[in-house]
């Protein structure tokens, strides 16, 4: 009896050990990032593995990096928040109509959206999109990122929201209609309060996607003050002489907004990540 229990214990310990090993390697790059952010290049070459004594920490890496990346972070926050908000607003309106009103043509709209999920975005459409934006005089501003961020999420968000809104009982909408509530009021007072969780999940998903978007800002932006975090970091990394400490401090600072978001929305976050992968 005892030996069996202890065998179970060893089994559990082996499992924990394996998982910790994998976790260690997942966290290792982040650890290195923080360690190096406090070093100058000499210290980095001499000892890349571990912190030096605290007196020799190079705090100026952080202040220098902050001065460089704060504008990128501001741009990223503005575009990601605006794109996510527009995306969810438009998607909710469309999903409400498709789910609750039998207007002619709703099938066309719905399947036109769903088809986009299976349409691979290649570099070719990136080119025609680029010329389109050029003709619309939208280059080198934050607008194309907001507009295209909102566009990119429509298919998935309508796909998920439609199913969700369809399950809201019809009686609610009918009694609201009898009370003379317009479509807009029905959305505000019935749809929004009842789909808070799913909207939160989708919001996080869209936010992560916009925050990580690289190719579009890369081709659209020219001025340094317009760059978002990914392109800004890419440009910093491409500079000829590298101060590794400053770079790593910059990486760390750019990661902080997402960390904060994560701390407040952990559950939604995990659900959003899982839902995001299912869209293919």
């Amino acid at each position: 009896m005892l030996s069996r229990r202890s065998r179970e214990r060893t089994k559990e310990l082996i499992k924990h050990g394996l998982i910790l090993l994998v976790l260690f390697s997942a966290f290792f790059p982040l650890y290195i990032m923080v360690v190096i952010s406090f070093k100058d290049n000499d210290q980095f070459v001499r000892n890349p593995w571990w912190f030096d004594s605290i007196g020799t920490w190079k705090w100026e890496n952080w202040s220098f990096a902050w001065d460089t990346v704060k504008i990128y972070i501001a741009n990223s926050i503005v575009t990601s928040v605006a794109a996510t908000a527009f995306c969810l607003l438009f998607a909710t309106l469309t999903s409400y109509v498709i789910a609750k009103h039998k207007v002619p043509g709703r099938g066309v709209v719905y399947y036109g959206l769903i088809a986009l999920m299976f349409l691979p975005g290649t570099a070719a459409t990136l080119m025609t999109l680029f010329t389109l934006l050029k003709d619309m005089h939208l280059l080198n501003s934050l607008w194309p990122l907001i507009i295209l961020g909102a566009t990119g999420g429509q298919a998935l968000c309508v796909f998920i929201l439609r199913q969700f809104i369809e399950e809201i009982p019809n009686e609610l909408f009918e009694s609201a209609q009898l009370d003379g509530a317009s479509s807009w009021q029905q959305i505000m007072h019935i749809v929004l309060p009842m789909s808070g969780a799913i909207l939160g999940t989708l919001a996080i998903l869209q936010f992560i996607g916009n925050w990580n978007n690289l190719m579009l800002p890369l081709i659209v932006m020219r001025d340094d003050v317009m760059l978002t975090v990914p392109v800004g970091l890419m440009r910093l990394e491409g500079e000829y002489v590298k101060e590794w400490g400053q770079l790593m401090a910059g990486y760390t600072i750019s990661s902080i907004p997402m960390v904060i978001l994560f701390i407040f929305t952990m559950r939604l976050f995990i659900r959003g990540l899982t839902a995001g992968a299912i869209k293919g």
Binding site: K15, I19, V22, S25, A26, P29, L30, I32, M33, P48, F90, L93, T94, V97, P104, G105, V108, V109, G112, L113, L116, P120, T122, A123, A124, T125, L126, M127, T128, F130, T131, L132, I147, L148, T151, Q154, V158, S183, W184, W211, N212, L214, I219, P230, L233, M234, E237, L247, Y251, S254, S255, M258, F262, M266, I270, L273, T274, A277, I278, G280
Partner: protein, 345 residues
């Protein structure tokens, strides 16, 4: 755009007509009133859908159709625009060595990525088999944390690992004396002369680029993969495990006879995503090796080739034609996979 408006108006008229017979008992004036009210109501509904419809028509469908059109043109994005028929495609299939080479590399990466899926599956199974539910949750949260870091930051840190003089990769190899083994291999078997000075340049030596792309991301545990496999594993009922216990399955038997078959839906989903990603993505290689794909274009993948042809060499038309080819390939693979997944459900 005009097209959409026409179909919408036609739809409303049709709706008005189909509603008309129901109201024959009402007086004519009343009927007109209800029709108008109904029309107005429906227009407000179309108005609600308008932003979405406009956005996807202008920014999704128009560029896609434009790309199809320009695949038949010689086009530099600004001044030259000349119809060439299928010449771009003939050029790509018949005379473009780099185009074929890029697909060769994609094939290698597809095989490598198929192997790189396994660590995520194993990790999910190990977490799932923990007895304590609380620990399962804790590990799930811990696995999400590295995901929060912007993907580009993770990528750039990994890139710094491969720096020849300062990178973690070479330092580890030197500290563990694996470098001596590699040097011996290089001199006696490979003959690449890549390790001669003991600090190989992983990202700029044409022999080492493909191996680097394969090692990339070690130990290849993808957070999203783990979460999706875990979701699948949680659907397996306890009865199945109990039955397995009666049959006396070993830990490997439990994996190969119960867990793997029952998460096959998730595995196929990840396989689809992986395949499409490998065929389509080029951001990683653009950042690691630059727009030319490194020395001798060893690291050139189809997506990057399109990007470089279009934005750097100003051969937009040709790039659109390449895009069409890739599009057809990805579409057909998606359809084939879609069938496979549906069979399982």
């Amino acid at each position: 755009m005009a097209n959409g408006a026409i179909t919408e108006r036609a739809g409303v008229e049709r709706a008005a007509r189909s509603n008309a017979p129901e109201r024959t008992t009402h007086s004519a004036g009343r009927r007109v009133m209800t029709t108008i009210r109904r029309l107005r109501f429906q227009w407000s509904l179309y108005l609600l859908m308008l932003p979405t419809v406009l956005l996807i028509l202008v920014f999704n469908y128009y560029p896609s159709l434009d790309a199809i059109r320009y695949s038949l043109y010689r086009w530099d994005g600004a001044f030259i625009e000349e119809f060439r028929g299928l010449e771009n495609f003939i050029q790509a299939f018949g005379h473009d060595r780099l185009f074929w080479q890029s697909f060769g590399l994609t094939l290698i990466l597809l095989v490598a990525n198929a192997f790189k899926m396994w660590p995520s599956i194993f990790t999910a199974v190990v977490i799932h088999r923990l007895q304590s539910e609380r620990w399962q949750y804790v590990y799930r949260v811990l696995f999400v944390i590295p995901m929060i870091i912007p993907s580009l930051v993770g990528l750039l840190i990994w890139k710094s690992f491969f720096e020849p003089m300062t990178g973690i990769m070479n330092k580890t190899l030197q500290a563990t004396h694996l470098m001596d083994v590699l040097q011996w291999l290089d001199i006696n078997v490979l003959g690449w002369q890549a390790f001669t000075y003991g600090s190989p340049a992983w990202l700029s030596n044409s022999h080492l680029i493909v191996p680097t792309l394969i090692i990339w991301g070690f130990p290849w545990v993808g957070v999203i993969g783990v979460l999706i496999y875990l979701a699948g594993l949680q659907n397996i009922s306890q009865d199945v495990y109990d039955a397995g216990k009666i049959d006396g399955l070993s830990w490997w038997g439990k994996f190969s006879k119960i867990e793997l078959p029952l998460i096959m839906t998730q595995v196929r989903l990840m396989l689809i995503l992986m395949t499409i990603g490998t065929l389509q993505d080029y951001g990683l290689i653009l950042i690691l090796l630059g727009p030319e794909g490194g020395p001798n274009n060893v690291g050139m993948v189809p997506g990057l080739y399109m990007f470089t042809e279009g934005f750097l060499n100003q051969r937009y038309g040709y790039a659109c034609a390449l895009g069409m080819v890739l599009f057809v390939i990805i579409m057909s693979i998606t359809l084939v996979y879609q069938k496979l997944v549906r069979v399982d459900k």
